[in-house]
């Protein structure tokens, strides 16, 4: 791959607008994510962070605007890609959900190897071997044959990350990955995410973990009322924000913690 292509943004979002009924959720978002960048999206609840993220893999369809991801127009002027092409593109965009959404009828190994077997055409043996390697990475090899119901929240989320990685995505989306976890389990999930970031994975992370944003984020995006009110390197956002609303939000979350 030439340097020119490698340097081009992996995610390019333009004038993204979305409303549910008559409630405006996204009021025109423009944003680029460069390869290997870790973008952390913060903001008060109801600010449209999750909807923004979900637009990036077509789980939500915006009314207007465009989303270009991995070199493909996922949404062009409010028109989403046809289903078949969308399915292919989604293989390149991993998603991790707040509520894990592990498949309860499959073992940990089954959860991870299902996608590769059905979509990448891997044999069961190959898919299982890949899954085991991923489990090693997230530190859960010993749980390969456990059912999801028997895992802790932190373990479930690490399996969910491994499941998304099994499709060999080029971008990973994290939608509040630690918000459903007991406080003592947050660390193990963030650790896996840090590992991914250090390996150069392009990541978009919606989170309330300010330490993670500060430590791992290349860019912090602050959203409020469906728009990006401010974005920049974490040092700037956390120590010297331009917007009053950012200051107020950070004050509220940081004093709580």
């Amino acid at each position: 791959m030439s340097d020119v292509i490698a340097a081009a943004p992996l995610v390019r979002i333009r004038a993204l607008r979305k409303s549910f009924a008559d409630h405006l959720v996204l009021g025109g978002i423009d944003f680029d994510v460069a390869p290997s960048q870790v973008v952390v999206v913060i903001g008060p609840s109801g600010s449209g962070k999750s909807t923004f993220l979900r637009c990036c893999n077509g789980l939500e369809v915006p009314e207007s605007g465009s989303v270009e991801i991995c070199g493909r127009m996922l949404v062009n002027n409010g028109q989403r890609l046809p289903e078949a092409e969308l399915d292919l593109l989604r293989q390149e965009v991993g998603m991790v959900f707040q509520s894990f959404n592990l498949f309860p009828h499959l073992s940990v190994l089954g959860n991870i190897s299902l996608g590769p077997r059905k979509l990448r055409g891997l044999s069961r043996v190959d898919a299982d071997n890949e899954a085991l390697a991923l489990l090693k990475k997230v530190g859960l090899v010993e749980k390969a044959y456990a059912m999801p119901a028997s895992l802790s929240g932190g373990q479930k989320q690490r399996v969910a990350i491994a499941r998304a990685l099994a499709m060999k995505p080029r971008v990973m989306l994290f939608d509040e990955p630690t918000s459903a976890l007991d406080p003592e389990l947050v660390g193990e999930v963030l650790q896996v995410m840090k590992l991914l970031a250090s390996e150069g994975m392009t990541m978009m992370v919606v989170t309330h973990e300010m330490d993670f944003a500060r430590e791992v984020g290349d860019v912090v995006v602050v959203m409020d009322g469906g728009v990006i009110i401010e974005s920049g390197p974490p040092e700037t956002i956390f120590t010297n924000p331009v917007e009053d609303r950012t200051r107020l939000f950070l004050q509220a979350v940081l004093t709580r913690a």
């Binding site: 289903e83 989604r90 293989q91 498949f103 009828h105 998304a164």
Partner: protein, 222 residues
């Protein structure tokens, strides 16, 4: 008045033959009912696909809104007016299967809709098509939830199958009535028929309970 079960003992092989016909007709109808129920239940998931949704909804409304006996008579006595002469067994199976399919479809739809939306989203976000996600993620979970209400449906089907005796099908009900017509021992024979149905429904209940238990033990249910 004294009970005299001798016609029942004497007619036992005949009743068993009839019971076997009942088993045959209910199992074939059950397969047909499940097949139709699955198709129609899936067809009613997305109201925005108007034609499919409309057809499936009309089917459920008409079949649930009219008596099974009338449906069976239309098939067996009504259609011949148009020169459509179907064998009795065929009419029985179609009638029972189509009838039960309408109820099964609601069971299927309810079970699918009870699976958390996040399951479909997780599968789609991996890149699965909606069909593949339905087959490999949503349906396997929905099937477990279908079993208790399907059990009710199967039992209703077994009992409803007694109506096909009126289409000259030689099921256990029909055979019993033949015994009564020569022995005049209504109470005893009907009691025997009741026992046959009770055994059939009981076995069905036990089998389904066993299946459900195994699926739960396999971790299929959260």
């Amino acid at each position: 008045m004294e009970l005299d079960f001798s016609p029942v003992w004497a007619g036992w092989p005949q009743l068993l033959r009839g019971a076997w016909v009942t088993v045959e007709i209910t199992s074939v109808s059950l397969l047909l009912g499940c097949f139709m129920g699955l198709i129609v239940g899936l067809g009613r998931l997305k109201p925005e696909r108007r034609i499919v949704y409309g057809l499936c909804t009309a089917y459920v409304a008409v079949i649930r809104g009219t008596p099974l006996l009338v449906q069976l008579f239309i098939l067996f006595f009504g259609l011949p007016q148009f020169g459509i002469l179907l064998p009795a067994f065929f009419c029985g199976v179609i009638g029972l299967g189509v009838y039960s399919g309408a109820y099964v479809s609601e069971v299927v739809r309810g079970a699918i809709q009870s699976v958390d939306r996040g399951q479909m989203e997780a599968a789609r976000s991996l890149g699965m098509s909606s069909g593949l996600a339905m087959r490999s993620v949503v349906l396997p979970q929905a099937v477990v939830r279908m079993i208790p209400p399907l059990g009710n449906e199967f039992i209703a089907l077994i009992k409803n199958s007694a109506l096909v005796s009126l289409l000259t099908i030689h099921d256990v009900m029909h055979e019993g009535q033949k015994i009564i017509s020569v022995s005049y021992r209504s109470l005893e024979v009907y009691l025997a028929i009741a026992v046959v149905y009770f055994v059939l429904t009981g076995v069905t209940t036990l089998v389904l309970r066993h299946i459900e238990k195994r699926l739960r033990a396999g971790g299929m249910v959260q």
